[in-house]
């Protein structure tokens, strides 16, 4: 499935239609049997061995779509970091620190691509193809050009936007993976790595590692505001966490920092689409 087709199909209306036949098939199984079938799928044993690839016959469309969305975001990140490292723009910091950070992140993002591709194939699904990315976002940025005096700042700003998006997007898909312990756990294990990346990139930019209210932070392009809208939420499961005490942990700032928020699939796709040709 190509990405545009995938993006097109990602809206929940289309999802519901497309999923009908498979859901019908599901309905002939007891909920327990369905759960067992899904749970039998190994997540990403690919790196370790091929023999465990007992593809399951049934997999919920929600879960598959969650994985395809994750793969799309990982393609974006992996491609971005590889081009960033190739560009020599990071050498501008003169310490090797930015390069080292990007090398480590790049290694992880490329590993996530492989893991998600293998997992989708294990499930009998075709991994969505890698789109063609435009990291200029239609000419707004020129991050890989050493002749651009803003390239270094742009590389860091884009990385922050991608990582903070990744954290929120994975979190938004967790519910779709419920019932499949292996898929859910692996997705959580990627999710927390994205959060480590986000923290470090933010700190490299001189920010705190966590997000305050819906602030994108100094020198972040306005186009990235969608990444941060909603982060100001203080209501966790019906509880306004800023009302749980009167001291410093319960200011609106601290209360918003303490919880990252989700992005829906549609919101994550909209952000990623800014960088897809």
């Amino acid at each position: 499935m190509n990405l545009i087709k995938f993006l097109d199909e990602f809206t929940s209306e289309n999802l519901a239609k497309k999923g009908a036949s498979r859901r019908d098939a599901f309905s002939t199984f007891s909920s327990l049997g369905k759960k067992a079938a899904i749970a039998a799928v190994p997540f990403g044993m690919a790196a370790a061995s091929n023999k465990a690839k007992a593809a399951t016959m049934f997999q919920s469309d929600d879960a598959v779509n969650a994985l395809q969305l994750a793969l799309t975001l990982e393609y974006l990140e992996a491609s971005f970091y590889l081009q960033a490292l190739d560009s020599n723009v990071l050498d501008q910091d003169g310490t090797g620190k930015a390069n080292a950070i990007y090398e480590q992140i790049s290694m992880h993002e490329s590993a996530h691509v492989t893991l998600l591709q293998d997992t989708l194939m294990d499930l009998g699904e075709t991994p969505t193809a890698e789109p063609t990315f435009d990291f200029t976002a239609g000419g707004s940025f020129d991050p890989f050009n050493t002749n651009n005096p803003d390239a270094y700042a742009q590389l860091l700003a884009l990385a922050q936007a991608f990582e903070d998006t990744g954290v929120r997007a994975y979190k938004g898909q967790a519910g779709a993976l419920m019932g499949n312990d292996n898929l859910l756990t692996a997705a959580l294990q990627i999710h927390s790595v994205e959060a480590r990346h986000a923290s470090e990139i933010r700190r490299l930019r001189g920010l705190q590692g966590w997000i305050t209210l819906n602030q994108r932070g100094p020198n972040m392009p306005p186009v990235t505001q969608d990444v941060y809208d909603g982060e100001e939420n203080l209501n966790q499961g019906g509880v306004d966490v800023s009302t749980l005490g009167g001291e410093s942990p319960f200011t609106a700032e601290a209360s918003s920092q303490a919880y990252d928020e989700i992005l829906t699939g549609d919101e994550a796709v909209a952000i990623a689409s800014l960088f897809i040709e």
Partner: protein, 246 residues
Amino acid sequence: MKNKKVKVESLTTKKGNKRRQFLKMSGLALAGSGLLLSCSDDDDFTEPNPDPDPELFDLGGGDLGVLNYAYALEQLEADFYTKVLNGSYWSGAAMEEKQILEDLYNHEVNHREFFKAALNTNFDAEVVLPESLEFDFSSVDFSNRDSVLSTAQLLEDTGVKAYNGAGKLIETAAYLVIAGKIVSVEARHAAAIRSIRGNNMNNFKLFAGDDIVDPITGLDGAENPSVIIDAAGGFIVTPFTANQLP
């Protein structure tokens, strides 16, 4: 056993609207326990002895068990950072480190109070973990930077593994999402502490080092509660059991 009934109830609704669910859940939990009170005698025979040592508090199973477990971990972290902020290393620390540790204190106290509120809203008081667990940080020198930072790193990395491993045990989507909202902040903490330690060692990759993120798969850690409770056992004085969690 109480939570078993809640489990059955919540399975039917777990894919539903996430935010509204929480409010409803308190009603479900109450309904569940009410039902069980009336039939508890019959069911007790079929239970695989969930509480072999009635003298000790058991975290429980299902969502209750996971929430109590998270509450214990957040109490541990909050108590640690409270001691950090009362220690001499922190009061004399460089501005950046001071700010980071104060932020971590704020976040962990907020998490602790969130779990206290969520548990007490949704479950009977007698199955909610007591609010003042006692901890022993005598192995930490709160006047020593490396002692404080290495313990912070251990606790944050452990928190990440704990939440990552507990996700699959959560039965209600609303709780899973909230656990997700918290674990990514724990991971941000872990990376920040590792980052300031790494800078001292000229190891700029420590924020997500190969010692904690598998370099082949790119995956962070995930451990079951029994592993985490064993690992944190040295800090925990108040005894409790987790017989209904893996």
